[in-house]
Symmetry: D2
Subunit: 133 residues, 4 copies
């Protein structure tokens, strides 16, 4: 499955070079992931409060193909790469007028609230895994 | 008492206009407040964990006198304006090469971890009050 | 005129206290202002590139009434308070489920690209002034 | 050569999980890079203004080994991996009490102010290359 989220580049996202600061792509990736959970009826708050599980990132990576300017309309595309018992990996593409502006991935791992690695709650993992079919 | 904290304006703090984004001044105010607590031997973590008290902001304000550029060396000056039983107000000045670049204030209030207003822990309030003499 | 912009509180907007960091309200104010310009057919990029004019903030202020949590749906309401020859002041309210979570204002001033105060371009000022009727 | 920069985790860097948000590591990498340039007598502003050259990132990556809490003292270690005619790659380690909290890299490329790829100014590249001996 592919999930799409639109963003507009705001003034505060830009830096002195006149383009979006590279660290903000990772913020966009995460916001897209949040909206993907919402779309599936999942919720990180519920994961945290009902299951005592957090999904800290163990790896994040981005390749930048072109710069993004103030007011640019971007589309972030999330694709589930892999759901394992303890980890989920998402691939992301950032499109700007149909062309690839960036691509990357984020891998998260399930932990308790005090950061011990655990299995993902079965329901949570299954819903994401099924979305990928 | 006056507490001073030095900052340098980093690339990520700037925006397309080539200067520090106005919202970052509030981040600097807060970092300066944190270092002020550390200087006094206080700690927001301890306030939270030992006393179950948080200091959410009830008001924040800043007047900007001049723009701050990438690489500028700034000095943020914190002055305790008022410590009351439930609130503390800090005044801030931002100096750039000795001249005032901005000034503002932040008022915080003591609450429980679920945001009910309470009295500040006596020791905490006293140490800050005494620092102001 | 009143302009409304919806926001959702994202994970990255929150802090260790579990609520939106107070500095982010100012980011929301500005994004709302940008969308207001777009709604009026105006554009800060055009102001900058065609007129050589920037709108740096000279004052920003916010009063916080309640905390905003991860996933909260917020509505930011912009109201034009005053358009003068060189300055514009906007009032903001942040609503959370219909209740006021915060309110504030931002005052900006027209400058050249090297920060000399100038008059707002007449068209730009008129369109905003007329929107306020 | 190895360049070290100390950081403290501030309240604003944390998120609802009580630890530093993963995107902030990339901000720290960049601040460390800026201070490295300063240490070498180089300056991104000079690169931009005197040479008309910008160093946009083409890739950024981070692996997270452990979480970083509010008030943690971190040390970011920069190591020059490779200086080529148009690109520079930096490796980063983040240490927390001597243990590795994260590691990553950032690759940047030289461009003109309108983002055409160019050669790095010879002096700039040589000074960084020599620092790596």
């Amino acid at each position: 499955m592919i999930f799409k989220q639109k963003f507009r580049v705001h003034w505060v996202d830009t830096d002195i070079a006149g383009v979006m600061h590279f660290s903000n792509f990772f913020r966009y990736f995460e916001v897209c992931e949040e909206e993907f959970y919402r779309f599936l009826g999942l919720d990180l708050n519920q994961l945290r409060e009902a299951h005592g599980v957090l999904p800290p990132r163990v790896e994040a990576s981005c390749q930048y193909k072109t710069v993004c300017h103030f007011n640019d309309n971007l589309e972030v595309i999330l694709k589930v790469r892999e759901v394992r018992s303890k980890t989920i990996t998402y691939d992301f593409q950032v499109l700007k007028e149909g062309e690839k502006a960036a691509e990357g991935f984020v891998k998260c791992i399930a932990t308790t609230l005090d950061w011990k690695v655990v299995e993902l709650p079965e329901d949570f993992a299954r819903i994401i895994r099924n979305s990928a079919i």
